[in-house]
Amino acid sequence: MSEKLLKPGTYFMMGNMACVEAALIAGCRFFAGYPITPSSEIFERASLRFPQVGGVAVEMEDELGSMAAIIGASYAGAKAMTATSGPGFSLMMENIGLAFIMEAPVVVVNVQRAGPSTGIPTLVGQGDVMQARWGSHGDLETIAYCPSSVQEFFDLTIKAFNTAERFRTPVFVLADQVVGMMWERLRVPQYEEIEVVERERLSPDMLGSRPPFDYSQDFNPMPIVGTGCRVNVDSLTHDERGYPTTDHAVSERMLSHLLGKIRNHAHEIWRWEEQMMDDAEIAVIAYGSTARSALKAVKTARSRGIRVGLVKLLTIWPFPDELIEKISQKVNAIVVPEINYGQLIHPVKEHAKCPVVGVNWAPGSLIEPHVIVDALEVIAA
Protein backbone atom coordinates (compact mmCIF):
# COMPACT_ATOMS: atom_id res chain seq x y z
CA MET A 1 0.00 0.00 0.00
CA SER A 2 3.02 2.27 0.39
CA GLU A 3 2.77 3.35 -3.25
CA LYS A 4 -0.38 5.25 -2.28
CA LEU A 5 1.38 7.18 0.49
CA LEU A 6 2.83 10.62 -0.08
CA LYS A 7 6.24 9.96 -1.59
CA PRO A 8 9.46 11.27 -0.11
CA GLY A 9 10.23 14.69 -1.55
CA THR A 10 9.46 18.37 -1.24
CA TYR A 11 5.92 19.67 -1.35
CA PHE A 12 4.09 22.95 -0.97
CA MET A 13 1.19 21.94 1.20
CA MET A 14 -1.47 23.08 3.64
CA GLY A 15 -0.92 22.14 7.28
CA ASN A 16 -4.23 20.31 7.60
CA MET A 17 -3.40 18.22 4.53
CA ALA A 18 0.12 17.46 5.74
CA CYS A 19 -1.45 16.17 8.94
CA VAL A 20 -3.50 13.60 6.97
CA GLU A 21 -0.52 12.48 4.90
CA ALA A 22 1.51 12.09 8.08
CA ALA A 23 -1.25 10.02 9.68
CA LEU A 24 -1.30 7.67 6.70
CA ILE A 25 2.48 7.27 6.76
CA ALA A 26 2.25 6.60 10.50
CA GLY A 27 -0.09 3.72 9.69
CA CYS A 28 -3.41 5.32 10.63
CA ARG A 29 -6.25 3.62 8.77
CA PHE A 30 -9.35 4.80 10.63
CA PHE A 31 -10.72 8.31 10.79
CA ALA A 32 -14.01 9.37 12.33
CA GLY A 33 -14.93 13.01 12.20
CA TYR A 34 -17.49 15.73 12.16
CA PRO A 35 -16.92 18.86 10.04
CA ILE A 36 -15.77 21.93 11.89
CA THR A 37 -13.86 25.02 10.88
CA PRO A 38 -10.86 25.33 10.72
CA SER A 39 -10.12 21.59 10.74
CA SER A 40 -12.47 20.48 7.96
CA GLU A 41 -9.68 20.06 5.38
CA ILE A 42 -8.35 17.24 7.53
CA PHE A 43 -11.67 15.39 7.35
CA GLU A 44 -12.07 16.19 3.64
CA ARG A 45 -8.62 14.94 2.73
CA ALA A 46 -9.06 11.91 4.97
CA SER A 47 -12.30 11.12 3.10
CA LEU A 48 -10.36 11.20 -0.16
CA ARG A 49 -7.20 9.47 0.99
CA PHE A 50 -8.13 6.85 3.58
CA PRO A 51 -10.22 4.69 1.20
CA GLN A 52 -7.36 4.77 -1.32
CA VAL A 53 -5.12 2.92 1.14
CA GLY A 54 -7.83 0.53 2.32
CA GLY A 55 -8.74 2.62 5.33
CA VAL A 56 -12.00 4.04 6.63
CA ALA A 57 -13.05 7.67 7.02
CA VAL A 58 -16.54 8.00 8.45
CA GLU A 59 -18.61 11.02 9.34
CA MET A 60 -20.23 10.50 12.71
CA GLU A 61 -23.33 12.30 13.96
CA ASP A 62 -21.33 14.44 16.39
CA GLU A 63 -17.97 14.61 18.11
CA LEU A 64 -19.19 12.43 20.98
CA GLY A 65 -19.67 9.74 18.35
CA SER A 66 -16.38 10.44 16.56
CA MET A 67 -14.42 10.03 19.74
CA ALA A 68 -16.27 6.85 20.74
CA ALA A 69 -15.85 5.40 17.24
CA ILE A 70 -12.08 5.82 17.16
CA ILE A 71 -11.75 4.06 20.52
CA GLY A 72 -13.83 1.18 19.16
CA ALA A 73 -11.65 1.08 16.05
CA SER A 74 -8.51 1.23 18.18
CA TYR A 75 -9.58 -1.89 20.06
CA ALA A 76 -10.28 -3.47 16.68
CA GLY A 77 -6.56 -2.99 16.02
CA ALA A 78 -6.61 0.27 14.08
CA LYS A 79 -4.41 3.27 14.48
CA ALA A 80 -7.29 5.70 14.68
CA MET A 81 -7.74 9.45 14.73
CA THR A 82 -10.17 12.30 14.68
CA ALA A 83 -9.77 16.02 14.04
CA THR A 84 -11.75 18.91 15.39
CA SER A 85 -11.70 22.42 16.80
CA GLY A 86 -12.71 23.88 20.16
CA PRO A 87 -16.47 23.20 20.21
CA GLY A 88 -15.91 19.63 19.05
CA PHE A 89 -13.02 19.19 21.47
CA SER A 90 -15.43 20.08 24.27
CA LEU A 91 -17.77 17.30 23.17
CA MET A 92 -14.88 14.84 22.94
CA MET A 93 -13.85 15.34 26.54
CA GLU A 94 -16.22 12.59 27.72
CA ASN A 95 -14.67 9.86 25.63
CA ILE A 96 -11.14 11.21 25.91
CA GLY A 97 -11.56 10.07 29.50
CA LEU A 98 -12.80 6.73 28.16
CA ALA A 99 -9.74 6.30 25.95
CA PHE A 100 -7.58 7.14 28.96
CA ILE A 101 -9.14 4.62 31.33
CA MET A 102 -9.47 1.97 28.58
CA GLU A 103 -5.86 2.60 27.56
CA ALA A 104 -6.81 2.99 23.91
CA PRO A 105 -4.20 4.55 21.65
CA VAL A 106 -5.91 7.27 19.60
CA VAL A 107 -4.86 10.61 18.16
CA VAL A 108 -7.02 13.71 18.45
CA VAL A 109 -6.07 16.72 16.36
CA ASN A 110 -7.46 20.04 17.56
CA VAL A 111 -7.02 22.92 15.15
CA GLN A 112 -7.70 25.65 17.67
CA ARG A 113 -9.80 28.69 16.80
CA ALA A 114 -10.83 31.79 18.70
CA GLY A 115 -13.28 31.10 21.52
CA PRO A 116 -15.08 30.71 23.87
CA SER A 117 -18.19 28.87 22.69
CA THR A 118 -18.67 29.20 18.92
CA GLY A 119 -16.27 32.14 19.08
CA ILE A 120 -14.73 33.06 15.74
CA PRO A 121 -14.52 29.83 13.74
CA THR A 122 -12.19 31.16 11.04
CA LEU A 123 -9.65 32.84 13.28
CA VAL A 124 -6.78 31.62 15.38
CA GLY A 125 -6.68 30.92 19.11
CA GLN A 126 -4.74 28.92 21.70
CA GLY A 127 -7.53 28.81 24.23
CA ASP A 128 -7.78 25.01 24.53
CA VAL A 129 -4.42 24.51 26.23
CA MET A 130 -5.79 23.96 29.72
CA GLN A 131 -8.78 22.06 28.36
CA ALA A 132 -6.34 19.62 26.78
CA ARG A 133 -4.86 19.07 30.22
CA TRP A 134 -7.84 19.26 32.56
CA GLY A 135 -10.91 19.14 30.32
CA SER A 136 -12.04 15.59 31.00
CA HIS A 137 -13.30 14.87 34.50
CA GLY A 138 -11.31 12.92 37.05
CA ASP A 139 -7.54 12.65 37.18
CA LEU A 140 -5.88 12.26 33.82
CA GLU A 141 -2.42 12.71 32.44
CA THR A 142 -2.54 13.91 28.87
CA ILE A 143 -0.04 14.26 26.07
CA ALA A 144 -0.15 17.22 23.70
CA TYR A 145 2.14 18.26 20.86
CA CYS A 146 2.04 21.78 19.43
CA PRO A 147 3.20 22.34 15.85
CA SER A 148 4.25 25.79 14.65
CA SER A 149 4.75 25.00 10.95
CA VAL A 150 3.45 22.69 8.25
CA GLN A 151 6.58 20.57 8.65
CA GLU A 152 6.07 20.28 12.40
CA PHE A 153 2.39 19.46 11.90
CA PHE A 154 3.54 16.57 9.73
CA ASP A 155 6.37 15.44 12.02
CA LEU A 156 4.38 15.75 15.26
CA THR A 157 1.37 13.91 13.84
CA ILE A 158 3.61 10.91 13.20
CA LYS A 159 5.14 11.38 16.64
CA ALA A 160 1.65 11.50 18.17
CA PHE A 161 0.75 8.11 16.70
CA ASN A 162 4.02 6.62 17.90
CA THR A 163 3.50 7.98 21.40
CA ALA A 164 -0.12 6.80 21.46
CA GLU A 165 0.94 3.30 20.43
CA ARG A 166 3.70 3.11 23.01
CA PHE A 167 1.76 4.65 25.90
CA ARG A 168 -1.68 3.27 24.95
CA THR A 169 -3.36 6.55 25.70
CA PRO A 170 -5.03 9.41 23.79
CA VAL A 171 -2.53 11.86 22.32
CA PHE A 172 -3.40 15.35 21.17
CA VAL A 173 -1.93 17.39 18.36
CA LEU A 174 -2.84 20.86 19.48
CA ALA A 175 -2.52 22.85 16.28
CA ASP A 176 -4.14 26.18 15.53
CA GLN A 177 -5.92 27.87 12.66
CA VAL A 178 -2.77 29.52 11.31
CA VAL A 179 -0.74 26.30 11.24
CA GLY A 180 -3.69 24.29 9.95
CA MET A 181 -4.60 26.62 7.11
CA MET A 182 -1.17 27.86 6.02
CA TRP A 183 0.62 26.51 2.97
CA GLU A 184 4.32 25.99 3.36
CA ARG A 185 7.25 23.79 2.46
CA LEU A 186 6.91 20.16 3.51
CA ARG A 187 9.77 17.72 3.24
CA VAL A 188 8.76 14.10 3.41
CA PRO A 189 11.84 12.08 4.39
CA GLN A 190 12.68 8.66 2.99
CA TYR A 191 10.33 6.21 4.69
CA GLU A 192 13.19 4.34 6.32
CA GLU A 193 14.12 7.56 8.13
CA ILE A 194 10.62 7.78 9.61
CA GLU A 195 10.12 5.94 12.88
CA VAL A 196 6.79 4.15 13.04
CA VAL A 197 5.85 2.44 16.32
CA GLU A 198 3.35 -0.44 16.55
CA ARG A 199 1.54 -1.36 19.74
CA GLU A 200 2.38 -4.58 21.47
CA ARG A 201 -0.55 -6.98 21.25
CA LEU A 202 -1.82 -9.39 23.86
CA SER A 203 -2.31 -12.97 22.76
CA PRO A 204 -4.60 -15.49 24.50
CA ASP A 205 -1.68 -17.70 25.57
CA MET A 206 -0.06 -14.76 27.40
CA LEU A 207 -3.17 -14.59 29.62
CA GLY A 208 -2.15 -17.80 31.37
CA SER A 209 0.73 -16.06 33.06
CA ARG A 210 -0.40 -12.45 33.34
CA PRO A 211 -3.58 -10.40 33.78
CA PRO A 212 -4.64 -8.19 30.88
CA PHE A 213 -4.04 -5.02 32.88
CA ASP A 214 -0.88 -5.54 34.88
CA TYR A 215 -0.65 -2.45 37.07
CA SER A 216 2.85 -3.32 38.19
CA GLN A 217 3.99 -2.62 34.61
CA ASP A 218 3.95 0.77 32.92
CA PHE A 219 3.23 -0.74 29.53
CA ASN A 220 0.97 -3.68 28.79
CA PRO A 221 0.20 -5.43 25.52
CA MET A 222 -3.24 -4.58 24.19
CA PRO A 223 -6.05 -7.13 23.81
CA ILE A 224 -7.40 -6.69 20.28
CA VAL A 225 -10.94 -7.93 19.63
CA GLY A 226 -11.42 -11.01 17.53
CA THR A 227 -8.10 -12.58 18.57
CA GLY A 228 -9.51 -14.79 21.30
CA CYS A 229 -8.40 -12.77 24.33
CA ARG A 230 -11.97 -12.37 25.62
CA VAL A 231 -10.99 -9.52 27.93
CA ASN A 232 -13.43 -7.14 29.60
CA VAL A 233 -12.50 -3.52 28.98
CA ASP A 234 -14.30 -1.16 31.30
CA SER A 235 -15.00 2.54 31.75
CA LEU A 236 -15.51 1.85 35.43
CA THR A 237 -12.50 1.75 37.70
CA HIS A 238 -11.33 -1.82 37.21
CA ASP A 239 -8.90 -4.37 38.56
CA GLU A 240 -6.11 -6.20 36.76
CA ARG A 241 -8.65 -8.50 35.11
CA GLY A 242 -10.65 -5.55 33.80
CA TYR A 243 -13.47 -6.12 36.28
CA PRO A 244 -15.22 -3.17 37.94
CA THR A 245 -14.32 -2.53 41.54
CA THR A 246 -14.86 -0.03 44.32
CA ASP A 247 -11.90 -1.32 46.30
CA HIS A 248 -9.70 1.60 47.33
CA ALA A 249 -6.47 -0.31 47.02
CA VAL A 250 -7.28 -1.47 43.50
CA SER A 251 -8.48 1.99 42.50
CA GLU A 252 -5.19 3.39 43.77
CA ARG A 253 -3.21 0.81 41.80
CA MET A 254 -5.12 1.54 38.60
CA LEU A 255 -4.72 5.29 38.86
CA SER A 256 -1.05 5.02 39.79
CA HIS A 257 -0.55 2.92 36.70
CA LEU A 258 -2.52 5.20 34.35
CA LEU A 259 -0.87 8.39 35.61
CA GLY A 260 2.50 6.84 36.25
CA LYS A 261 3.07 5.39 32.82
CA ILE A 262 3.10 8.96 31.49
CA ARG A 263 4.75 10.71 34.45
CA ASN A 264 7.51 8.13 34.71
CA HIS A 265 8.35 8.44 31.04
CA ALA A 266 7.80 12.15 30.43
CA HIS A 267 11.43 12.42 29.28
CA GLU A 268 10.59 10.30 26.28
CA ILE A 269 7.72 12.60 25.34
CA TRP A 270 9.25 16.03 25.84
CA ARG A 271 10.36 17.83 22.69
CA TRP A 272 11.57 21.40 22.54
CA GLU A 273 13.96 23.60 20.58
CA GLU A 274 16.18 26.38 21.86
CA GLN A 275 17.44 29.29 19.79
CA MET A 276 19.84 32.01 20.88
CA MET A 277 19.71 30.73 24.45
CA ASP A 278 23.47 30.43 25.08
CA ASP A 279 23.96 33.92 26.51
CA ALA A 280 20.29 34.74 27.05
CA GLU A 281 19.25 36.81 30.05
CA ILE A 282 15.60 36.61 29.10
CA ALA A 283 13.85 33.52 27.72
CA VAL A 284 10.71 33.61 25.62
CA ILE A 285 8.77 30.37 26.02
CA ALA A 286 6.30 29.84 23.20
CA TYR A 287 4.42 27.08 21.40
CA GLY A 288 2.35 26.67 18.26
CA SER A 289 2.12 29.50 15.78
CA THR A 290 2.98 31.96 18.55
CA ALA A 291 6.50 30.53 18.47
CA ARG A 292 6.86 32.14 15.02
CA SER A 293 5.90 35.57 16.37
CA ALA A 294 8.27 34.95 19.25
CA LEU A 295 11.19 34.04 16.99
CA LYS A 296 10.76 37.22 15.00
CA ALA A 297 10.51 39.21 18.22
CA VAL A 298 13.64 37.60 19.66
CA LYS A 299 15.61 38.43 16.51
CA THR A 300 14.39 42.03 16.56
CA ALA A 301 15.19 42.41 20.27
CA ARG A 302 18.64 40.91 19.71
CA SER A 303 19.27 43.50 17.00
CA ARG A 304 18.52 46.11 19.66
CA GLY A 305 21.06 44.62 22.04
CA ILE A 306 18.74 42.65 24.27
CA ARG A 307 20.11 39.23 25.23
CA VAL A 308 17.06 37.11 24.70
CA GLY A 309 16.50 33.58 23.47
CA LEU A 310 13.58 31.39 22.44
CA VAL A 311 12.48 28.08 23.87
CA LYS A 312 9.90 26.57 21.55
CA LEU A 313 7.86 23.86 23.27
CA LEU A 314 6.78 21.09 20.91
CA THR A 315 5.34 19.15 23.86
CA ILE A 316 3.23 21.13 26.31
CA TRP A 317 1.66 18.14 28.13
CA PRO A 318 3.07 16.46 30.12
CA PHE A 319 4.44 19.81 31.16
CA PRO A 320 8.25 20.00 30.78
CA ASP A 321 8.77 21.13 34.36
CA GLU A 322 12.45 20.18 34.56
CA LEU A 323 13.23 22.21 31.46
CA ILE A 324 11.50 25.30 32.80
CA GLU A 325 13.29 24.92 36.14
CA LYS A 326 16.65 24.63 34.41
CA ILE A 327 16.09 27.60 32.10
CA SER A 328 14.75 29.77 34.88
CA GLN A 329 18.02 29.32 36.74
CA LYS A 330 19.96 30.65 33.73
CA VAL A 331 17.87 33.71 32.91
CA ASN A 332 16.56 36.72 34.82
CA ALA A 333 13.06 36.60 33.41
CA ILE A 334 10.76 34.45 31.32
CA VAL A 335 8.19 35.79 28.87
CA VAL A 336 5.26 33.60 27.84
CA PRO A 337 3.29 34.87 24.84
CA GLU A 338 0.03 33.00 24.17
CA ILE A 339 -3.07 33.55 22.06
CA ASN A 340 -5.21 33.33 25.17
CA TYR A 341 -5.54 35.30 28.36
CA GLY A 342 -3.04 33.26 30.38
CA GLN A 343 -2.97 29.46 30.31
CA LEU A 344 0.43 27.77 29.96
CA ILE A 345 1.93 30.62 31.96
CA HIS A 346 0.51 28.97 35.09
CA PRO A 347 2.66 25.83 35.09
CA VAL A 348 5.60 27.97 33.90
CA LYS A 349 5.14 30.15 37.00
CA GLU A 350 4.79 27.07 39.16
CA HIS A 351 8.18 25.75 38.12
CA ALA A 352 10.21 28.87 37.30
CA LYS A 353 12.71 30.26 39.79
CA CYS A 354 12.62 33.70 38.14
CA PRO A 355 9.91 36.27 37.35
CA VAL A 356 7.47 35.22 34.61
CA VAL A 357 5.58 37.69 32.43
CA GLY A 358 2.74 36.88 30.06
CA VAL A 359 2.01 38.51 26.72
CA ASN A 360 -1.62 37.73 26.06
CA TRP A 361 -3.74 38.68 23.12
CA ALA A 362 -6.59 36.58 21.78
CA PRO A 363 -9.11 38.47 19.71
CA GLY A 364 -8.55 36.07 16.80
CA SER A 365 -5.12 36.92 15.44
CA LEU A 366 -1.49 36.02 15.96
CA ILE A 367 0.41 38.12 18.43
CA GLU A 368 2.36 40.55 16.27
CA PRO A 369 6.11 40.37 16.98
CA HIS A 370 6.36 44.05 17.97
CA VAL A 371 4.05 43.42 20.93
CA ILE A 372 6.48 40.84 22.29
CA VAL A 373 9.43 43.14 21.49
CA ASP A 374 7.78 45.90 23.53
CA ALA A 375 7.50 43.54 26.50
CA LEU A 376 11.13 42.47 26.11
CA GLU A 377 12.30 46.09 26.03
CA VAL A 378 10.42 46.91 29.21
CA ILE A 379 11.84 43.84 30.97
CA ALA A 380 15.38 44.46 29.71
CA ALA A 381 15.19 48.02 31.02
Binding site: M181, W183, S293, L366
Partner: protein
Amino acid sequence: MRWEVRITGLGGQGAITAGHILGRAAVIYDGKEAVVTEGYSPYITGGWSRADVVIADEPIDYPLVTKLDALLTMYQEGLDTNLKLVKPQGFIITEKTMVNAAGAGGLRVFEVPALLIADRLGKRILLNVVMLGALVGFLGVVSPDAVKRALADRFPKAAELNRRAFDAGFEVASRLLRGGEVSEELIGEGEAI
Protein backbone atom coordinates in the same frame (compact mmCIF):
# COMPACT_ATOMS: atom_id res chain seq x y z
CA MET B 1 15.38 39.13 2.08
CA ARG B 2 11.67 38.85 2.76
CA TRP B 3 8.84 40.00 0.50
CA GLU B 4 5.18 40.29 1.43
CA VAL B 5 2.44 40.19 -1.16
CA ARG B 6 -1.35 40.32 -0.89
CA ILE B 7 -3.48 39.13 -3.78
CA THR B 8 -7.13 39.96 -3.38
CA GLY B 9 -10.27 39.69 -5.44
CA LEU B 10 -13.92 38.83 -5.37
CA GLY B 11 -15.04 35.21 -5.10
CA GLY B 12 -14.39 33.42 -8.38
CA GLN B 13 -11.64 35.73 -9.62
CA GLY B 14 -8.98 33.29 -8.54
CA ALA B 15 -7.01 35.39 -6.07
CA ILE B 16 -6.29 32.47 -3.80
CA THR B 17 -5.30 30.19 -6.64
CA ALA B 18 -2.85 32.83 -7.86
CA GLY B 19 -1.34 33.01 -4.38
CA HIS B 20 -0.91 29.25 -4.20
CA ILE B 21 0.77 29.14 -7.59
CA LEU B 22 3.19 31.89 -6.58
CA GLY B 23 4.04 30.18 -3.28
CA ARG B 24 4.46 26.79 -4.91
CA ALA B 25 6.71 28.24 -7.60
CA ALA B 26 8.93 29.92 -5.03
CA VAL B 27 9.30 26.80 -2.86
CA ILE B 28 9.39 23.95 -5.35
CA TYR B 29 11.15 25.52 -8.34
CA ASP B 30 13.08 28.50 -7.02
CA GLY B 31 14.32 26.96 -3.78
CA LYS B 32 12.99 29.85 -1.75
CA GLU B 33 10.76 29.71 1.30
CA ALA B 34 7.13 30.80 1.13
CA VAL B 35 4.06 30.84 3.31
CA VAL B 36 0.59 31.32 1.87
CA THR B 37 -2.32 32.13 4.14
CA GLU B 38 -5.89 32.77 3.06
CA GLY B 39 -8.64 35.10 4.14
CA TYR B 40 -12.30 35.32 3.24
CA SER B 41 -15.28 37.51 3.85
CA PRO B 42 -17.97 35.73 5.84
CA TYR B 43 -20.14 35.15 2.75
CA ILE B 44 -20.02 31.70 1.21
CA THR B 45 -20.14 33.09 -2.33
CA GLY B 46 -19.68 36.54 -3.79
CA GLY B 47 -17.55 38.00 -1.03
CA TRP B 48 -13.89 38.90 -1.14
CA SER B 49 -11.04 36.51 -0.78
CA ARG B 50 -7.34 36.98 -0.48
CA ALA B 51 -4.07 35.11 -0.43
CA ASP B 52 -1.16 36.52 1.51
CA VAL B 53 2.20 35.32 0.24
CA VAL B 54 5.40 35.76 2.22
CA ILE B 55 8.50 34.85 0.22
CA ALA B 56 11.99 34.75 1.67
CA ASP B 57 15.51 33.52 1.03
CA GLU B 58 15.72 32.06 4.54
CA PRO B 59 13.25 30.20 6.81
CA ILE B 60 10.23 32.37 7.54
CA ASP B 61 9.60 33.26 11.17
CA TYR B 62 6.44 35.35 11.40
CA PRO B 63 4.18 33.80 8.76
CA LEU B 64 1.72 36.62 8.17
CA VAL B 65 2.09 39.85 6.22
CA THR B 66 2.63 43.07 8.16
CA LYS B 67 3.76 45.59 5.53
CA LEU B 68 3.14 44.78 1.91
CA ASP B 69 5.78 44.99 -0.79
CA ALA B 70 3.03 44.44 -3.29
CA LEU B 71 -0.75 44.62 -3.27
CA LEU B 72 -2.60 43.04 -6.18
CA THR B 73 -6.30 43.80 -6.29
CA MET B 74 -9.04 42.95 -8.72
CA TYR B 75 -11.82 44.95 -7.04
CA GLN B 76 -12.19 48.47 -5.77
CA GLU B 77 -12.59 47.85 -2.06
CA GLY B 78 -9.52 45.66 -2.17
CA LEU B 79 -7.55 48.79 -2.94
CA ASP B 80 -9.30 51.02 -0.47
CA THR B 81 -9.13 48.68 2.51
CA ASN B 82 -5.58 47.41 1.99
CA LEU B 83 -3.88 50.64 0.91
CA LYS B 84 -2.62 51.40 4.40
CA LEU B 85 -0.77 48.07 4.55
CA VAL B 86 1.49 48.87 1.61
CA LYS B 87 5.04 50.00 2.40
CA PRO B 88 5.99 53.49 1.16
CA GLN B 89 8.42 51.89 -1.30
CA GLY B 90 5.93 49.14 -2.18
CA PHE B 91 3.63 49.06 -5.21
CA ILE B 92 0.08 48.29 -6.20
CA ILE B 93 -1.19 46.31 -9.16
CA THR B 94 -4.80 46.83 -10.14
CA GLU B 95 -7.04 45.37 -12.76
CA LYS B 96 -7.44 48.47 -14.88
CA THR B 97 -11.11 48.19 -15.84
CA MET B 98 -12.39 47.16 -12.41
CA VAL B 99 -10.38 49.38 -10.10
CA ASN B 100 -10.05 53.13 -10.11
CA ALA B 101 -6.54 53.64 -8.79
CA ALA B 102 -6.80 57.40 -8.46
CA GLY B 103 -6.93 57.20 -4.67
CA ALA B 104 -3.67 55.30 -4.25
CA GLY B 105 -1.87 58.22 -2.68
CA GLY B 106 1.77 58.58 -3.57
CA LEU B 107 2.34 54.87 -4.09
CA ARG B 108 3.45 53.38 -7.37
CA VAL B 109 0.46 51.90 -9.18
CA PHE B 110 0.49 49.61 -12.19
CA GLU B 111 -2.81 49.27 -14.00
CA VAL B 112 -3.06 46.02 -15.91
CA PRO B 113 -5.84 45.52 -18.48
CA ALA B 114 -6.03 41.87 -17.53
CA LEU B 115 -9.71 41.40 -18.19
CA LEU B 116 -9.30 42.62 -21.74
CA ILE B 117 -6.29 40.36 -22.27
CA ALA B 118 -8.13 37.39 -20.82
CA ASP B 119 -11.08 38.05 -23.10
CA ARG B 120 -8.81 38.25 -26.11
CA LEU B 121 -7.28 34.92 -25.09
CA GLY B 122 -10.78 33.51 -25.15
CA LYS B 123 -11.37 32.80 -21.48
CA ARG B 124 -12.23 35.37 -18.85
CA ILE B 125 -11.19 32.82 -16.22
CA LEU B 126 -7.57 33.57 -17.21
CA LEU B 127 -7.86 36.94 -15.47
CA ASN B 128 -5.93 35.81 -12.41
CA VAL B 129 -3.16 34.23 -14.47
CA VAL B 130 -2.64 37.45 -16.46
CA MET B 131 -2.52 39.37 -13.19
CA LEU B 132 -0.11 36.82 -11.75
CA GLY B 133 2.15 37.26 -14.79
CA ALA B 134 2.18 41.00 -14.21
CA LEU B 135 2.85 40.55 -10.49
CA VAL B 136 5.79 38.24 -11.13
CA GLY B 137 7.18 40.79 -13.63
CA PHE B 138 6.86 43.74 -11.28
CA LEU B 139 8.07 41.87 -8.21
CA GLY B 140 11.13 40.29 -9.79
CA VAL B 141 11.53 37.81 -6.95
CA VAL B 142 10.14 34.56 -8.32
CA SER B 143 11.29 33.41 -11.75
CA PRO B 144 8.68 33.32 -14.51
CA ASP B 145 9.76 29.79 -15.41
CA ALA B 146 9.08 28.58 -11.89
CA VAL B 147 5.60 30.07 -11.96
CA LYS B 148 4.79 28.57 -15.33
CA ARG B 149 5.87 25.14 -14.08
CA ALA B 150 3.76 25.56 -10.96
CA LEU B 151 0.82 26.54 -13.16
CA ALA B 152 1.28 23.47 -15.31
CA ASP B 153 1.42 21.25 -12.19
CA ARG B 154 -1.85 22.62 -10.98
CA PHE B 155 -3.67 22.76 -14.34
CA PRO B 156 -1.97 20.24 -16.62
CA LYS B 157 -4.75 20.31 -19.21
CA ALA B 158 -4.70 24.10 -19.52
CA ALA B 159 -0.92 24.47 -19.45
CA GLU B 160 -0.58 26.12 -22.85
CA LEU B 161 -3.39 28.62 -22.39
CA ASN B 162 -2.15 29.50 -18.93
CA ARG B 163 1.36 29.98 -20.27
CA ARG B 164 0.09 32.48 -22.85
CA ALA B 165 -1.97 34.34 -20.27
CA PHE B 166 0.97 34.44 -17.88
CA ASP B 167 3.35 35.65 -20.60
CA ALA B 168 0.93 38.37 -21.63
CA GLY B 169 0.73 39.66 -18.07
CA PHE B 170 4.49 39.40 -17.65
CA GLU B 171 5.00 41.37 -20.88
CA VAL B 172 2.70 44.11 -19.62
CA ALA B 173 4.90 44.41 -16.55
CA SER B 174 8.07 44.52 -18.65
CA ARG B 175 6.70 47.29 -20.89
CA LEU B 176 5.39 49.36 -17.99
CA LEU B 177 8.63 48.96 -16.07
CA ARG B 178 10.51 50.22 -19.12
CA GLY B 179 8.23 53.22 -19.10
CA GLY B 180 6.36 52.02 -22.17
CA GLU B 181 2.66 51.88 -22.91
CA VAL B 182 0.34 48.91 -22.90
CA SER B 183 -0.60 49.09 -26.54
CA GLU B 184 -3.55 47.60 -28.39
CA GLU B 185 -1.19 45.19 -30.05
CA LEU B 186 -0.09 43.80 -26.68
CA ILE B 187 -3.60 43.41 -25.44
CA GLY B 188 -4.44 41.69 -28.66
CA GLU B 189 -1.67 39.13 -28.41
CA GLY B 190 -3.15 35.76 -29.14
CA GLU B 191 -6.33 35.14 -31.08
CA ALA B 192 -9.15 37.57 -30.50
CA ILE B 193 -12.55 36.09 -29.82
